[in-house]
């Protein structure tokens, strides 16, 4: 009970610190159990400082910094207990190009070193270009969805159609 929770915390915290550094290209972050000495009751707090910045409340981080920190935490949990499928719906939306590339490097590495299959919904052409294959969802008939295989070269047209 308590021991497994503490062990899980240590494992996730370890991954989280490393993933944060990797996604931000530096900086520091760790998790903290708060509001209770009992690991079965405590809440989970995030203490994060991007490279060169002082530690402050998560709320003061930028939209993109918050998203990247959350991704570090989600993947830290994932690495502690890998799953056969991982679905990411537009998680790259608030990220700038450099952060998208680091995010995709991480996802690519996880895909390459585990058996996990990824479904990545995206509007971002950088993300599209890094996929192994693309499926387009279309509504040629309005209100009715269809699925089509998309040639990575043709992705540009599909994205711009409406």
């Amino acid at each position: 009970g308590r021991e497994r929770m503490s062990a899980a915390f240590e494992a996730v915290d370890g991954h989280f610190g490393a993933l944060f550094k990797r996604l931000f290209g530096g900086g520091n972050a760790r998790l903290s159990l708060v509001d209770s000495d009992d690991p079965l009751k405590a809440g989970l707090e995030i203490l994060a400082s991007p490279p060169g910045k002082r530690l402050q409340a998560m709320s003061l981080l930028s939209g993109g910094e918050q998203a990247l920190t959350a991704l570090a935490l989600l993947f830290a949990v994932f690495l502690t207990n890998p799953t056969p499928i991982c679905v990411l719906d537009e998680v790259d939306a608030p990220l700038d190009d450099a952060n998208v590339e680091r995010f995709l490097d991480l996802v690519g590495e996880i895909a390459g070193s585990t058996e996990t299959r990824f479904l990545v919904v995206t509007h971002n052409p950088i993300s599209m270009a890094r996929m192994d294959r693309l499926f387009g969802v279309t509504m040629a008939e309005r209100g009715v969805s269809q699925l089509v295989s998309v040639d990575l070269v043709r992705a540009q047209d599909l994205r711009a159609t409406a």
């Binding site: 949990v77 207990n81 990545v120 279309t138 309005r142 969805s145």
Partner: protein
């Protein structure tokens, strides 16, 4: 233990049946706003045993049934089928004898959902437990819906601890 194929029919905007083959590595899903990408992803979540209509953007579970388009009448039935590849025999008993495991969920307007695992009637709980044994499930951390990243950031500490429970 791999996720192989996902088949949707009558589910939200997928009134005509579609089949998504889930191959190894990274599969991108693209298309304009409102074309159905999140609906597709919700189909997977739904067949894995999601019981909250709110988590699927609806107010009642009947909201996942195709409700019509300008040239098409509403349907009364929606079905999603997920096929798992079990060649490595890593599935939980009693499903571990098969090369493939098929989970189906079907909903009829005003009559609720039925589940089947390899053709045999099952309860929502059986489907949820099957996926939990595979370290996944409708509420798995690894299923990140549109806009859910924000809620990890804004969550109160007591809400976030659910992540730890998943890792344990």
């Amino acid at each position: 233990m791999h996720f192989n194929r996902l088949r949707l029919s009558g589910f939200k905007s997928f009134v005509d049946a579609v089949e998504l083959i889930i191959e190894p590595g990274l599969t991108g899903i693209v298309g304009p706003n409102g074309c159905g990408k999140s609906n597709l992803v919700e189909g997977l979540r739904w067949v894995m045993g999601e019981t909250s209509a709110k988590k699927l953007r609806g107010s009642g579970m009947d909201d996942v049934i195709f409700n019509g388009a300008s040239a098409r009448p509403a349907r009364n039935i929606a079905e999603v089928v997920l096929q798992l590849d079990n060649a490595d025999r890593a599935a939980p008993a009693p499903y571990n004898d098969n090369d493939e495991i098929e989970i189906a969920r079907r909903i009829e307007r005003e009559a609720g959902s039925d589940y089947r695992i390899n053709g045999a009637d099952a309860r929502a709980r059986d489907v949820q437990r099957l996926f939990a044994d595979l370290a996944t499930g409708a509420h798995a951390t690894a299923l990140v819906g549109q806009g859910e990243i924000g809620s990890v950031v804004n969550a109160k500490p007591e809400q976030r601890r659910a992540l730890l429970e998943e890792a344990a």
